[in-house]
């Protein structure tokens, strides 16, 4: 290590520390970029979530055909659908439970659904105090839900009730 | 002369020193012995303060605790193997040396309490000694002072020479 190298090192240290201090000091006066998630967000959190995000599952019971495709598709069997038959009433569902504690949000159940009844909703804040509360029951306890019968194929498709669309994507995402 | 406050301080310091000394002398755990040095050094520094040698007291703290004691701790921890908390510090010939030491302290005590010590004057209040020590070191005691610094330099060089591992010749490719 030569003598000039020694003093150069000292000079480098001094100038770089000085420069570093100016940079950190300037950041002290800048606006923080943090989004203070639950309560101080620029718009409701559900609006900030992108359109096709995978969060909680919801089943629109009035268009569910009880085809059990979603139950079969689920790789970890978290969907449980019980159907019964009764004279005069026909086939009806007594249980449509989704155990969200097990669900891994793969989205395989939404694909085979003929009417788009089972779909993701942009909502994810559902912390509960017990695992039991994580089970979503779409058929009320002891209730009976008669499945939706899709119209015949020769009928125009327009008459089919439109599957509920995913919520509209936010027009502007916050930029800060 | 000594106030009751100083009596109290003396009693407390004596307690610390005796406890630490016993730990050093009798503990089977070498690490405890090394840490107990802290108590002994602090206690003696306290005695120095009581005896009006404030500069020596601070130097005692600075050199003994800051330097020597941490050196000892390093040596103890490095030579005993990290992770072995229960290392022992065996003693030999305790049965022979304990009576001898008891005899020694009885003799010393008898000597201390029977001798007519020369006490020049009633010891005065604590006066700052720093400036006087500085003056004395650079005038009357200049030669010992310089010799001490040469000694320290020799120690430094000797220690480095002793402690470094064998020099390896690094071949540059």
């Amino acid at each position: 290590m030569s003598v000039s190298n020694y003093f150069e090192n000292i000079k480098d240290a001094a100038t770089s520390v000085f420069e570093g201090f100016t940079i950190t000091m300037s950041h002290l006066f800048r606006k923080p970029v943090t989004i203070q998630y639950p309560d101080k967000t620029p718009m409701p959190v559900t609006d900030m979530i992108p359109e096709r995000s995978r969060s909680w599952l919801r089943v629109e019971m009035d268009i569910c055909t009880a085809c059990l495709n979603c139950e079969k598709a689920c790789p970890i069997d978290c969907i449980k659908i019980d159907t019964e038959k009764e004279e005069g009433v026909g086939r009806y569902m007594t249980h449509f439970d989704i155990d969200m504690a097990k669900c891994m949000y793969c989205g395989l159940c939404t694909e085979p659904c003929p009417t788009g009844s089972i779909h993701f909703i942009p909502e994810f804040e559902r912390a509960t105090y017990s695992l039991d509360q994580m089970i979503e029951r779409f058929v009320p306890e002891g209730g009976k839900v008669i499945p939706y019968k899709p119209p015949k194929k020769d009928k125009p498709e327009a008459e089919a009730p439109a599957a509920p669309e995913a919520p509209e994507s936010p027009a502007e995402t916050p930029q800060n | 002369m000594m106030t009751p406050m100083q009596d109290l301080a003396f009693a407390a310091l004596s307690g610390i020193v005796i406890a630490a000394g016993c730990l050093i002398a009798f503990s089977r755990n070498l690490v405890y012995s090394a840490f107990a040095l802290l108590g002994a050094f602090v206690g003696v520094a306290g005695y120095f303060v009581l005896l009006g040698a404030d500069f020596v007291a601070v130097i005692q703290l600075l050199v003994y605790i800051g330097g020597i004691m941490v050196l000892y701790l390093f040596a103890v921890l490095m030579t005993s193997g990290i992770g072995d908390v229960t290392l022992t510090n065996r003693s030999i010939a305790t049965k022979a040396s304990a009576p001898l030491c008891i005899v020694l302290i009885i003799l010393l005590g008898k000597l201390i309490y029977t001798t007519e010590w020369y006490v020049a004057a009633e010891p005065t209040e604590i006066a700052p000694t720093t400036a006087a020590i500085g003056n004395a070191l650079l005038t009357e005691y200049l030669l010992p002072f310089e010799l001490a610094s040469v000694l320290l330099l020799g120690t430094l060089v000797g220690t480095v020479a002793l402690a470094r591992r064998g020099v390896k010749v690094i071949k540059k490719s």
Binding site: N9, T22, Q175 | T3, L61
Partner: protein
Amino acid sequence: MEQLAITIHENYLWGAPLWAVNLIVMFGASAVVLMLFVAPFAGITSFVERRIAARIQDRIGPNRVGPQGILQFLADGIKSLMKEDLIPTDADKPLFILAPYLVFLGMFTTFVAIPFSSKLIVSDLNVGLLFIFATSAITAVGLVMAGWGSGSKWSMLGGMRAAAQIISYEIPTGLAALCVILLAGSLSLQTIIAGQGAYPWQWYLFNNPFNPLAFFILLASLVAEGNRAPFDLPEAESELVSGYNTEYSGMRFLFIFFAEWANLYIIGALVTVLFLGGWQIPVGVSEWAGGVASWFPQVLQFLTFFLKVLVFVFLIIQLRWTLPRVRMDQLMEICWKYLVPVAFVCVMGVALWMIIWPEGLPWMTYLLTAVAGLIVAYYCYRVIWQLRNTKATLEFNPFV
């Protein structure tokens, strides 16, 4: 202190012996300093450090507990108090328990010699400066004890590193302080302050061209002795989990951290006393304040001192987020190859300066003050330049 004890003895507690009153006053004073100053200061510093760190990283930081999160430190303290006191099974129990108190003792004893104003000082020791350096050595022993007592390899390495670092950096600290001791001719902190004036050109910092160098050496080595970033190898999170305090929890952990934050104040106070004129306020202001009330000058002095200290506390916190951590070999290289030789040059330079110009050079002090002012102005200019010209190109929305 003694005056206070004598006053109490004569006026209020007839019959009680003086030494007992003295003892009570001594314990009372330390309790008051501890409760009313050190604890809140350490706590608030912990909060302020987190906020500043957050803002430097473009975050917000803790802002939920109380207005702007100012009560966060109370919440943390209560949380730590209520935590379970864990002692690892491998730990050396007596040492593990004793170590935080030693660390704390080494830090807290330092406050004995630090002056807050011209009268507000526990004891103006005539070896004050050495006393401060000596007691900080107890902290080193405490850290080794914490490292050994934890019975964990991370703690052990952290403790050894801390001790090696503190011992090494005591040398440049002492040498840099020696520059001021030469000028003041005393080790007493009050005498050192009395040798300086209220205005910058009367400070020891600008007394001669060597003192600014000594100032930076002292600041750097004190930061290293306090185990602060960028010299925080003993508690390097990325290597040693958390160093010597890895195994501690609850109140004991708090004690170690308490000492660390109070240490920030000690660093600032030492630098302020040695180089920046301590609590000195202009004579005119002092006289005017003395006319208002007898205690008013003391308050002004305390505020002056405290403000100067806070500047350094802020600088050290900012330094933590400015420089990356140095390696162990770099740490030793900085100490032995750069700080120590330059500090020796400074000591020799100051000594020569005092021989050649025993009265000091007035124009040199003005010149150095002006240069320092220019550097501060350039710093402000650079900060504004950075603000305007380096846009943070962070389109930062995690949801998009």
